[in-house]
């Protein structure tokens, strides 16, 4: 890949007291690429993603977006740079409806500075119809919606605003089979549009079906970064659990390579 990476994270560092949550990590993401970020709980992957989404400020290192150095001190900075995040908790305000949630923090306003409900409603209807034609409850508070519908709102919010990079934290963990398929289709569609995606997941099936590369973290460090066709599930599991590839990996890969 010779093009400029969408995102370059260079030598990122984050520590809490003596604990190194992210230990000098460097990571790139290219347009139209899905990168799986794996690791067991506490491996530092969530921390790293929170740094990229502006929710956490790193102690050191540099982030570049399309070659330009950026500094995020709050989530709005990252969103302004085209980096959107779908959190595992979805980060929805339960007492507000789909329209209010979709535009939360970026409300459209009329000339007089009032909330432009008509425009926000129409836009929400459009974007939700693209994701799920059956979505009708635009004015219901989101706490009364199903898990799948809530997920759709969180996704809609992340893709509506000229997104370049999408961070998805366990996007299918709370979903049923048909909804999971919908999310998988969406990821493929976004990739085709040239959006770069970080997929944080525990689900090996999702990872191998959707990702172009996998990055495995262990104790705050990147212990493996591989094209998906270089590794199998056991290799990845070994990286996650032991922090290293199985002993026979290079032999196996060399043997397979000519074929």
């Amino acid at each position: 890949m010779s093009q400029t990476p969408l995102v370059e994270m260079i030598d990122i560092e984050k520590h809490f007291g003596g604990v190194r949550a992210v230990d000098h990590v460097s990571l790139n993401l290219y347009p139209g690429e899905v990168v799986g970020v794996l690791g067991h709980n506490g491996a530092g992957k969530s921390c790293l993603m929170r740094i990229l989404s502006g929710a956490m400020i790193p102690n050191g290192g540099e982030i570049r977006v399309q070659g330009r150095a950026v500094q995020f001190s709050e989530p709005n900075d990252a969103r302004a740079a085209g980096i959107e995040t779908i959190y595992q908790t979805l980060a929805l305000a339960d007492h507000l409806d789909a329209v209010a949630n979709l535009f939360l923090g970026r409300e459209l306003k009329t000339r007089f500075g009032n909330l432009d409900e008509a425009r926000m409603y129409a836009a929400t209807k459009d974007v939700l119809a693209r994701l799920n034609p059956n979505f009708k409850n635009l004015r219901d508070r989101v706490s009364s919606l199903s898990g799948g519908q809530r997920q759709v709102i969180a996704i809609a919010r992340a893709i509506y605003f000229d997104t370049k990079v999408l961070i998805m934290d366990e996007p299918t963990a709370a979903l049923g089979p048909s909804e999971t398929a919908m999310v998988a289709d969406l990821i493929r569609q976004l990739r085709a549009e040239g959006i770069g995606i970080f997929l944080v997941s525990h689900d090996m099936h999702d990872v191998f079906e959707l990702c172009d590369r996998v990055v495995v973290m262990n104790k705050g460090r990147v212990v493996g970064a591989h094209r998906i066709d270089e590794v199998d599930k056991d290799d990845v599991l070994s990286l996650i659990v032991k922090g290293e590839l199985p002993a026979d990996w290079s032999a196996r890969n060399l043997a397979e390579a000519p074929a």
Binding site: A93, K109, R119, A122, V127
Partner: protein, 341 residues
Amino acid sequence: MSHAAKPVGRFGFAGMEPTSAHLHRLSALLTLILLIMGFSLMAQSFFTVNNAMTVLLQTSVIGLLGLGLTMVILTGGIDLSVGSVLALSGVISAMAVKAGVPVAPAMSLGVLAGAACGAFNGFVITKMRIPPFVATLGMMLIARGLALQLTGAAPISRLGESFGRLGNGALFRVIEMQPNGFPRVIFPGIPYPAILLLVTAIAVAYLLRRRQIGRHIYATGSNEEAARLSGVRVDHVKLYAYTMSGALAGLAGNVLMSRLVTAQPSEGVMYELDAIAAAVIGGASLSGGIGTVTGTMIGAFIIGILRNGLNMAGVSAFIQQIVIGLVVIGAVWLDQVRNRQ
């Protein structure tokens, strides 16, 4: 993605008033109507124009405090300092008048002092990370202490007729001069405090429903972390809510002191509890994200009418406390029962 403005049928409330909140307000409104009917049967002088205006006047102070508290409670916070801030603001306005400042700017100064107290609350809560209960409890003591210290605990009187106009004046008052030289009040007029309450309520409702800050107030109380991650400046929102609460307490203080034409540093003790009760009776949730201006207004009038009606029926002030206490518990209980269904 189209940004074309398409007219849609139902918009503006943005789902902030789901059915259960509607129900709560409906039942609160029903309670209010029942109270009015009940008291009308018990005391003949209850259901009269004169008494209605009295209730309006009495409710306006609690109503103003309740509006401020609604904003704070919506963010998931609480403001225990409004009763004391009310006293401090009134005292500062009166002192300014005594110092020769004309009434209008003097009163503005009092409201500003209230806003400053609120801003201090907001600062302590957002920057020093002190829980709202503790921060505003501190301000409750600070503001009361300041009011007492500034006045030497003595009321400031002889403030002049113009100081009393806000609290005692009325629009459309019709007075007839009788042959014996005494005036006869045909229509007492709509008290200025009631008009002030109405205007303020409309302004706050507008802020909460139509402006971004209102949307963010609901979002902050609904899910603070989600709001923060969505780019809502949660600290800014809270600072705004507490400052507004302080300013409205200042306004209420000026109304009250103007009505008495005396600045009483010991006025307003426990008013914060009436204001909180008004919001809660009106359907506001103390965990944040739920509540409306209309609800709080209904709640304030329920308390005002209970007080007034029980007075007219000759019920002692002690029993009144008990009744209002039971009403608050009952209102919240009803809400819980409904939410469990």
